[in-house]
Assembly symmetry: C2
Homo-oligomer: 155 residues x 2
Amino acid sequence: MATPPWSIAEVAEDFGVTHRTVRYYEDQGLVSPERRGTQRLFHPRDRVRLSLVLRGKRLGFALEEIRRIVDMYDEQPGEAGQLRYLIDQIDQRRADLEQRRADIDQTLAELDDVETRCRRDLAVLTEAGDQPPATLANGRRRRGRRPPPEETQGA
Amino acid sequence: MATPPWSIAEVAEDFGVTHRTVRYYEDQGLVSPERRGTQRLFHPRDRVRLSLVLRGKRLGFALEEIRRIVDMYDEQPGEAGQLRYLIDQIDQRRADLEQRRADIDQTLAELDDVETRCRRDLAVLTEAGDQPPATLANGRRRRGRRPPPEETQGA
DNA sequence: ACGGCTCTTGACGTTGACGTCAACGTAAAG
DNA sequence: CTTTACGTTGACGTCAACGTCAAGAGCCGT
């Protein structure tokens, strides 16, 4: 994986983005690689930031929002008011994420439902068509959909 | 909540979007309200579609992707090839959602971690400032799991 | 018939997140 | 030293997902 520090091409390759994307992220203050002359040098911390950014993207956050989140991670302790503000921000992010997780769980359950009906219809068709049973086409295991409803929430 | 069928203004209001958004969704085939003359009439099924669409948006899906997903919900049984294709699509969606869920869980764990440190720092500050302990301000509970301190990327 | 309201269809503007291209520096290889 | 690959900064293009007018149709109560 080459060796630190990395070039822009290396990190881009490693993270599956283009160098243009990386530069854009730098413009937006999401990463701030060292500069040797004009070239960018990416250190491990830059890679950590990048992976946080990309995870944020996978979650559908806007870059601006992602910036605020990752900035929270390496914020200095600061004074009490700052800390209280930060905790408040964290709680908001948490609420957001928990809503998303609930959305995901519900969607997953519905997909399970649709798939079950599909497989039933498919079974009927193949049976009518005189096909041998054939293994389940795909090794899906019926997962116990909801592990303990540890967190019944209803917002 | 008025009475079915609803006008575009009513559904827009109910779902917290603008009528422009609703019309755009219709253009994109996400909803197809009945027409009485030139006016749109939204029936319960349109509202269901809309809520599915908005949930998809909360999850950060693109409208095109959302359309394919919601279309899966009320697809006709069709023939075997169709069904197999549909099941495959569902499995892909599921994999995607499960990735997102993992991302969310990890982010939540990290947020817990940051918040814990915040509260510790805050406690130190207020103690130094001679404040009473004060109750935990917010009834959060510890959610297990320490993510590895390393880069943890999976692309 | 008139003003006022809601709804309609364009058409163009905007914002975020890049892609693309041009023109140029720089560092290692032959 | 020249080539070649990689790097840099603009500047402009693009695409999705709407926002924002503009201009009109349809109906309502007075």
